[in-house]
Symmetry: C2
Subunit: 353 residues, 2 copies
């Protein structure tokens, strides 16, 4: 609206000056046009909503108030750019996590692709379940089963070979419900939030329970988060010489699980500064939010609550994947911001316009 007002103003000025055009008037005309262009730019800037996919409400207001407070040098809550560290969980916070974590769907696809070389898998769980797409049997195999699946598909190759496998998959695989690449299932409002924080000189880190080397392949492309700002779970890698060339070999051995109490540990290990802004969506993010909130000065802690079965999914307190229970109670007690997907997001995925 204001942009339009400024444009009308500029046109009027132009008409007035042309009507009175003498020599001095021509100069006045140029000045007026220049002035209106400046005004236009100022209005346009003030007017642009950095979070257009967020409905007006408490969540949006709190985010914007926080960013204004920590970036305003005159504010008592001002934070120097170097200390503007923001951490985001990935699964369920930046992209969807149903029907299963996408990395697990990747593992299942890999088992199927590798099955011809492993005839024994046809009769061995959890591989049988993966090949047959039997998610219930897979769930029944528990953490141990899932671990076996991950190791069989994520280890035994160099870091470079693994990156290539992930890259091929992420470019071709399709989500079972939406029949689109998995990277289409990122949340439009969160992409806007990442941009908004970035232009305000925040350094954004992903702190995910997912695999660090799985995420790094596409996080820069999809979120604009470079590899050195991606933190995740990892398996052991081993330096080795192969045909006179050094390689890093991925071993079938857990190195670090970046979930729950592991998140603040990893944040301290990788970043060495305490974040001032943290966003998650499940009990796996509880300790990360606690750790962020325990620092001095103004802090922002947010949780995405999945409440929209129509546009996305509705789940929380009783969900096996992405359970939000303990952290939801804590949000109430500690004044953390809960984003109600159905209420707070005008749009969920970029393709749902």
């Amino acid at each position: 609206m204001r942009v339009r007002t400024a444009a009308v103003l500029a046109l009027r000025l132009r008409r007035v000056t042309i009507e009175n055009s003498g020599n001095g008037m021509r100069r006045l005309f140029s000045i007026a046009v220049a002035a209106s262009l400046v005004l236009l730019a100022v209005f346009a800037h003030a007017q642009t909503d950095p979070l257009p996919s967020w409905n007006d409400g408490v969540a949006k207001t709190r985010i914007m108030d926080f960013v204004k407070a920590v970036t305003d040098v005159a504010s008592k809550d001002y934070v120097a750019p170097a200390d503007r560290i923001a951490v985001f969980d990935n699964d369920g916070t930046l992209w969807a996590e149903k029907p299963l974590y996408f990395q697990l769907l990747f593992a299942i696809d890999r088992v199927r692709a590798l099955a011809p070389q492993h005839p024994e898998w046809k009769n061995t769980q959890p591989f049988k379940a993966a090949i047959e797409g039997d998610f219930d049997a897979l769930a029944a195999s528990g953490e141990k089963g899932v671990g076996e699946l991950v190791m069989a598909t994520h280890a035994g190759m160099t870091t470079e070979a693994f990156a290539k496998i992930v890259d091929d998959w992420i470019k071709t695989a399709q989500h079972p419900r939406f029949k689109r690449p998995y990277t289409d299932l990122v949340y439009q409002p969160m992409l806007e939030l990442l941009s908004y924080l970035r232009v305000n000189d925040f350094k954004i880190y992903i702190v995910s329970g997912g695999g660090i080397e799985f995420l790094r392949v596409w996080a820069d492309r999809v979120y604009g988060v470079p590899p050195e700002q991606v933190i995740g779970s990892s398996i052991v890698t081993k330096f080795e010489m192969r045909d006179g060339k050094p390689v890093l070999l991925r071993e079938a051995k857990i190195d670090f699980i970046d979930d729950k109490a592991g998140k603040p540990v990893a944040i301290n290990q990788f970043i060495g500064r305490r974040p001032i802004f943290a966003f998650g969506n499940s009990d796996g993010d509880y300790e990360m939010l606690q750790w962020t909130g325990a620092g001095d000065g103004l802090r922002f802690m947010g949780l995405v609550h999945h409440t929209d079965a129509e546009r996305e999914w509705a789940y929380g307190r009783n969900s096996a994947v992405g359970r939000l229970d303990k952290a939801l109670d804590a949000a109430g007690k500690n004044g953390w911001t809960v984003v109600d997907m159905k209420r707070d997001w005008k749009q969920v995925f970029p393709f749902q316009r």
Copy 2:
């Protein structure tokens, strides 16, 4: 020299225009002054030596040729800023490491400070040796002894408490030979190299065998390298609630040794990109240099060779601390740049002017 030429030129132009000053001449005068100021700036820029403490020679030439090649968009060796990752070892590369690694001298000082609370240390090695300053007995206690010393002084407190202890020590402790704070024993030529790389949009990481939380306390202050760009060895930390506040407790348990083959592993884990520039000084940096060199495109690998017993120390092939043997042979074979401290550095420490 050229700056002086430009200044003389500017003065001459000024004199000429003043002598002929009519109205048009006054304008010419202004233009000439403006032009000479621009010239001055250009010359000054071209003239400033970014590495004034480096003697002219192969090492300096190779560094500058490399930086020019990877930053020139017209060069076939151009590298985008995001991929300009430079890694530096710390002990013996950025600061001195004699008579012992400074962090070990910190541990010894801590043992002495804590000794009154541990009467049993008087008669137990390696604590007895530390208290008595008997470096030979300490060396005889081997890796196991040193490990005990480190654990007794580095673990059993929160990350914040440890940072405070290191900060107090680094501000007050003095190096036995130079009677100055340890942070005075950084290499002036390397500080210049860090700045030179930084203005050329390199992202600089320290990749040290020393403790990550020991380094982070002062690396930003001394080198301009922020905590998130410091990689090092670590002990396990554990998230815990204490009086309703989350803390990270340092446990007496090795997490990761960032030395030798551990360096490329850590680089991959923390950065997720292969560096294009690597500097070390000992066999502990061999694999880091190999890993850096094995990437595509132009690469720079450098080693500091300690050859100056007068201004610093002279050691290498047979030194227990900072042995440079295998990596020195590899440098010859692979065209890595060996910096001969005595020959290549005009100045070693900032205080030796």
